[in-house]
């Protein structure tokens, strides 16, 4: 079995990464998961968090908010609404997202409230861990 797989990270504005990797850690909606070559096919939505990529050329981090990931035996595609390379993500950017999320959470109807508040909580958690 091949020990690497294709990893793609795309956001609406650009494609951030496309490389061969050995493992990818993904912040899935129901918990973090690590995908390695030969993983069974999974489609999961993302919560705000860090995608940690291990490749033969070194490790990389990407910060993503909202989106989903498609995992198959020989590839992982992360399709994120907002994505930044870990090293140049600015706290201010995320804080903007957080403010917007807080507003929509307070405006959300009862049935959407849980999801919106979870999104806010995940963002806060992410911001705290960045220091």
């Amino acid at each position: 079995m091949a020990n690497t797989m294709q990893f793609d990270l795309v956001s609406p504005e650009r494609s951030l990464a496309s490389l061969q990797v050995t493992a990818v850690q993904i912040p899935g909606a129901d918990g973090d998961m690590t995908a390695m070559p030969g993983h069974s096919a999974v489609l999961t939505s993302l919560r705000p968090g860090v995608v940690h990529v291990q490749s033969p050329d070194g490790d990389k981090d990407f910060v993503v908010t909202r989106g989903f990931a498609e995992i198959s035996a020989d590839s992982v595609s992360v399709i994120a609404e907002h994505a930044h390379v870990g090293s140049d993500v600015k706290k201010a950017d995320l804080e903007d997202v957080l403010t917007a999320a807080r507003e929509s959470a307070s405006a959300a109807s009862a049935e959407d409230k849980d999801a919106a508040e979870k999104f806010v909580a995940d963002l806060v958690h992410l911001l705290e861990n960045m220091d």
């Binding site: 793609d8 795309v10 956001s11 609406p12 504005e13 650009r14 494609s15 899935g28 909606a29 129901d30 069974s40 096919a41 999974v42 489609l43 999961t44 939505s45 909202r66 989903f68 498609e70 198959s72 595609s77 399709i79 609404e81 907002h82």
Partner: protein, 291 residues
């Protein structure tokens, strides 16, 4: 015969016009390149998104629990037309072509007895649509302050549309924009976004059996609203490239026309100048003969 000074002034003014159109053409060319680049860069996202969503929709779509965004409200009485045009003019037939397509669709729907609501994006389309369909007008999205359209702009528009959908304000939504083919060809296009329509992307995607996390339905319900934003974003980018392409060829034409005009006026100017000289000579000669 026009007098010499007038002709000279006109030549000078047409020359100035040519300078301006030439400059606009070059600016449009530079902007077109950028617009095309961003359209290019968003393509992987759009393609993957639609492939996944299409696969999901194909597997869940048949069931009764399918979200309304996918299956529709079961009626098609009220149509929302989202007409996307540019904020600025001087780009050939770009704005009027899109508006024309939208108007034709609106008239067709009204003739069928449907209710039509119109939302415009971009000032130029609003101006021409509002004149005719003032009563059907429900809103306008202003992008004149936006230098470069981003995904956030698309999200705002999508949120607006989805809020109206949740409030049962319409049954079917269609977006109108111009598809960029090349600098001389942009095709005004109508695309239905609610209920979501997908090109047949079965085969590969449908054949892979995925585990879904959370459930298939929850994932679909989460992705569909974003699909609307994605489609709007793609349309905005296409529109951006089309606008600049259209402006570039319009300004190229204008520059060429100005050049022709200058040539014609110069010939006329030279002829009149010669005529004046001949006249003066005749006067001098006949004056000398009279002595």
């Amino acid at each position: 015969m026009p007098n010499l000074k007038d002709l000279k002034n006109r030549i000078a003014s047409v020359k100035n016009t040519r300078k301006i159109t030439k400059a606009m053409q070059m600016v449009a060319a530079a902007k077109l390149r950028r617009a095309q680049e961003s359209a290019e860069q968003s393509r992987p996202y759009t393609e993957r998104f639609n492939a996944v969503l299409g696969g999901l929709a194909a597997s869940v779509g048949g069931s009764d629990s399918a979200p309304k965004l996918l299956s529709g409200t079961g009626k098609d009485d009220v149509h929302l037309l989202v007409i996307m045009t540019a904020e600025r003019g001087l780009c050939g037939g770009f704005n009027s072509n899109i508006a024309k397509l939208g108007r034709a669709r609106a008239q067709e729907l009204i003739a069928q007895g449907k209710t039509v609501k119109i939302l415009t994006v971009g000032k130029k389309g609003r101006d021409s649509i509002k004149r005719e369909f003032g009563d059907n007008f429900v809103g306008h999205v202003d992008l004149s302050e936006v230098k470069r359209v981003g995904y956030d702009n698309a999200q705002d528009i999508a949120r607006d549309i989805l809020a109206r959908f949740d409030a049962s304000e319409f049954d079917v939504a269609t977006i109108f924009y111009a598809k960029f083919v090349n600098v001389v060809t942009q095709i005004p296009t109508a695309q239905q976004i609610i209920p979501a329509a997908f090109d047949a992307v079965e085969g590969e995607t449908a054949s892979t059996l995925y585990d879904y996390e959370p459930s298939e339905e929850a994932l679909l319900a989460d992705l569909l609203p974003r699909g609307v934003a994605t489609q709007i974003f793609a349309a905005l980018l296409e529109n951006g490239a089309s606008e600049q392409g259209s402006r570039m060829s319009a300004m190229d034409n204008a520059t060429r026309n100005a050049g022709e005009m200058i040539d014609k006026l110069t010939i006329e100017y030279n002829r009149s100048r010669q005529a004046v000289i001949t006249n003066e000579l005749i006067e001098i000669i006949s004056g000398a003969e009279a002595l």
